[in-house]
Symmetry: D2
Subunit: 365 residues, 4 copies
């Protein structure tokens, strides 16, 4: 209710601050009996971890996850799974400069107005560091969905700043620090090196998908699958836009081309992005998100201080020049959490039984 | 939980089907003591009503709202407000043709797979007709927000199919059937007349805003104001994309230009769209949504029937050639419901007290 | 959140006032495909209906239920089921006497303090009349539980005022106006006739049970089966105490006698009342509740008025001398709603699969 | 939803097992700006701690609480407060005897049936040890309620097994290991010493109260204050009965005596126990609960094993001969959590404003 729990039946309660002693989450509602260890979770955390290239923040955090509860003799028990990640590289003194000033584009102004308090330590609760526990929880959801339904999740970079990245192949994604689906990332390296030198930042556009989707997930009116995806994606730090399937391109489409034809062999296209009437079709989920440029930059900006007086601010410390880069595993995790929650909700109402119509094969797209 | 209640503290439970005896909603959590009558609600319903021009469905529905509970001697009592709208122009026989076939781009396939049942009467529960109770509930929220905070909501058309509509003035919006902010809508009329003759449909792009926003609304991690907006908008029938503020344009922006400078006189720009860190800044909320073309069209489409056999389908009956046209009051209502719910949630945790910093004046944008 | 929705996955939102135009509820989350008509619901409403004997209120209400949504061609569709009951015998003028005075033991004082408004029409929202929609919703839950799990619900009177009623047989319950499990109710008739003549009222104690319970329902820490039952029962108007199994008698028991032995043929006793650790054992659920005497009586009482001045009040109009009499079908319905919700919640997390251990046979008690 | 979160606006998510590495909770929704340190929480934990007398389990746990998040520079920030308590005295080997047998009156049977897994380490999740985080969360609620409303909470023992304890004075309660309101507890000592020697256990009856209650808390239909109290109390391990005010004694009362007269100086009596129509009257809350005897005893009992075969079981290890003894601080904490949550919910809907009528003075009882 106060906005720190994600999901209703696979409910993830997140806690911690960027520069407090620890961050973590409690997963409530995980089905019992699934094999689970830290080894299932750590790889996704490592993909999101800071300090892995010069294009991301140089803060050094191992992000080692510890399972505090909910697993006994290597299997989930059906009771709450607490995942803890200790913070190790807090340097709160970096933030003295900005303790009384508001950064344009940053949450420090709104937090101060909302709560009447200022926690300047790395953004406190508004830091993207709080996505780490979601990545951890997402790994648990991914495992269950893969075992139960064969569903898998992937993401990649589509644009960084002014640079559009063509889609060559998923296989390139793990081989470069940008999650780019291309073999040659030299143009991206040059672009971001230039940006860093200028003390500036840029936005990004990501694609995230799910394959092997069960048919029939999503609630009909308000917890539609696409609405839950939009909620999850827009909730990731710095996201300003979300598209499903054809997205904004559907504005200029006609009904005679937008609607994906059904054939006995499957859907002919995937303008729907895997969702019709808020419910999964079995096609791949196709989601695209826009991420704004980092607000913590070295370029001086006009602003006000806590007394309302005009001033200027620059943000030193360790920041991502493009927060979008590390967002790929985050977006995958959030998509997995949405699907997981709706899978359990579907099962509650409709049971474990098969659909009346054999689902048609996956999208031909 | 089953997806028919919107909001947590100002909770609206929606019921009914397009061709059942009635549709409606129950509002739980409305503050007590507010003057309220059907006269506060009917005007917004009339803006959404079908049959008002040749560019929308010709179904004739008065959409007269009846307050069944929660109001005594002209004031809200704090108990549930049931709003009922009787259906009067159901013609279920129009749907016999499609009772066993799935319309490309329509929810009939996914509903059948999910529930194992088919309600072909105008889409049953998946019909956009179910937005009427939300418009009614939104009118109640709008009234309270206007009285309490001076917040107001407006929406207009930005694009219809391939036609971009320049923003001239809000004052034109009520004077044409397209909610277009332009004086001359002849180009839109010609475009849509052509589309109707060809038996096809098109998409649309809408803008919806809130002015006079309180500062500090929105929860920090998962029920962010922008996440809740994305959820609400993507939940409107046929919406495929949502942007807040600069939206997808922020991808190519730099941090030095995207972040809105703060001055003692207010924010210099509004790339944020009124939200930072998921919490309202006091700037205008700026939202843009993409609506796909109607799937119920006269053009024949390839599809399958309930036995999985290949066939073709055309949809007769009465349908909107551009469902986006009537979506403006719907989007306004959903935005009002989001703000209302977060206003009450903010009050629960932080009380009715003033912000520590006097909010800076509204956006200069 | 505002307290008018019962249940989470089988969620019943209640609306209406005693003397408004209508009362009703919306059931969200009913599994699809179940045959359902008004005929499944009306019998339980008729058992609760006022005016059926001289021992209950003489208000004449047919309590005819109308299904407004969620059922198509005689089967539930999985979408919200709205049940409407029109009020027909409102006589608001009966309440002029008490419009400015608070009745000792009545909710009119607390409603006035909470909402700042007074709806004297039969108690408005605090009236026991609002249990009628719950009885209707309970009938839907009972039907699904009987079909799916073979679970059945029964209730009977244990005490009326100072009179203890021995348990003779369930078969007597429908044959007298007191839901008493005895053949001869002449003592109860005399007692209540005397009470009515003296212008007074009395309390009651009821027993309600469920047989054929699935094993494993209930959440481990906070939504324990017994906690949910206590919540549901204490939420019925006028209830002041709830016991499960041995209840308050367990205080003086020893562990060596209280714990029900397990044998291959079943539990030897049922001190648990069907619940261990908050989870159903498969034994019968055994619940007992205390209902206070009606506060609306003809005997004059000391009180204050809305200005805080001392005065006296008597309550004319039509009231039950023992509200406990009509509470039996209400308590059954609430118990059924608890079991239904937990059955769906169990299915969400643990699936439709059988228990690892074949449940031992039902209680030998 | 899966039953490990208590409260809606002051939401406490509990995690951990009796013999895992740690237990704890996350509080979401605490108002910002309140001074808070471990020193506010530890005293209540110390009152509940095991090993403090020979009448409770000899397990040695310091129960030191650590605040992991949500507090900055000594004040709550409005973001989630994670409280961690490390387990230090786990001796899992004590449980080898019972790993394959079900204890009569214990949750091990139902957990096995529900989840298909057995965690014999001290009951795993069903252990009363999990009440420690609730006592910690309750201390936070108590502090806020004392500061904001002047509300205070107290509890005491009323009966232990067959022994009724007269109420002499609240001041005796902290001076004996039984929370008994009497100066001389020698009879209790003898009784319990005898019970321990015989390898048996007994039940208890507790009273818990709140003074200085705000008027108007509680929701009208389903989240009534008394219903929430019943839910909270019945959710405490081993509780089998709950009474509010006159409780089961109200069955034999008449309306002319049960209803508490209102006078300009306050209520004349408190049969209501502080609640009318589910809403607080401002009188003291008066709650009484029945706690069953501990199921883990040295006396041999008939039971079955996980293969369904008949056997006998005795429970060695360290157990409370009367779990009710340490339940007093638990019941106080749960009552405080109920009042806290409803206080925030009331504020959401009705604001921080004063009641229309000045509340009448506290109960004269």
């Amino acid at each position: 209710m106060s906005g720190n729990t994600f999901g209703k039946l696979f409910a993830v309660t997140n806690f911690g601050e960027s520069h407090g002693p620890a961050i973590g989450c409690v997963i409530d509602g995980c089905p019992p009996g699934m094999e689970l260890s830290e080894g299932d979770i750590q790889p996704d955390l490592d993909r999101r971890r800071p300090g892995t290239s010069r294009y991301v923040t140089q803060r050094q955090e191992e992000d080692k996850v510890e399972i505090l509860s909910g697993v006994f003799e290597g299997r989930t028990t059906g009771t709450p799974i607490c995942l803890l990640i200790r913070n190790t590289d807090q340097r709160s003194k970096d933030y003295s400069e900005i303790a009384r000033k508001f950064r344009p584009g940053h949450a420090d102004y709104t937090y101060f107005e909302k709560y009447g308090l200022r926690d300047p330590r790395g953004g406190g609760r508004s830091s993207a560091r709080l996505t780490a526990p979601m990545v951890a929880a997402g790994a648990v959801a991914k495992k269950w969905l893969a075992l139960k339904h064969g569903t898998t999740f992937r993401g990649c970079m589509q644009e960084i700043g002014e640079i559009r990245i063509p889609f060559e192949s998923w296989e390139h994604v793990p081989n470069n620090p940008f999650f780019a689906p291309v073999a040659d990332v030299s143009a991206l390296e040059s672009y971001l090196d230039g940006l860093r030198k200028s003390g500036d930042s840029c936005g990004a556009r990501l694609r995230v998908t799910a394959s092997g989707m069960p048919v029939g997930l999503g609630q009909p009116l308000f917890d539609k699958l696409d609405a839950e995806i939009a909620y999850a994606m827009m909730g990731i730090n710095a996201v300003k836009g979300v598209e499903i399937g054809a997205g904004f391109a559907s504005v200029a489409q006609h009904g005679s081309t937008h609607g994906d034809s059904l054939t006995p062999q499957g859907f002919a296209t995937n303008n729907a992005g895997g969702v019709l009437g808020g419910i999964s079709t079995g096609q791949d989920l196709e989601v695209s998100i826009a991420i704004k440029p980092t607000s913590s930059i070295l370029t001086p900006r006009d602003t006000i201080d806590v007394d309302g007086e005009a001033t200027q601010v620059i943000t030193k410390g360790r920041h991502d020049p493009c927060v979008g880069i590390r967002a790929t595993p985050i977006a995958e995790a959030m998509l997995a959490l949405v699907v997981m929650d709706l899978a359990l909700r579907h099962r509650a109402q409709c049971g474990d039984v098969a659909s009346p119509l054999a689902p048609i094969p996956g999208s031909a797209a």
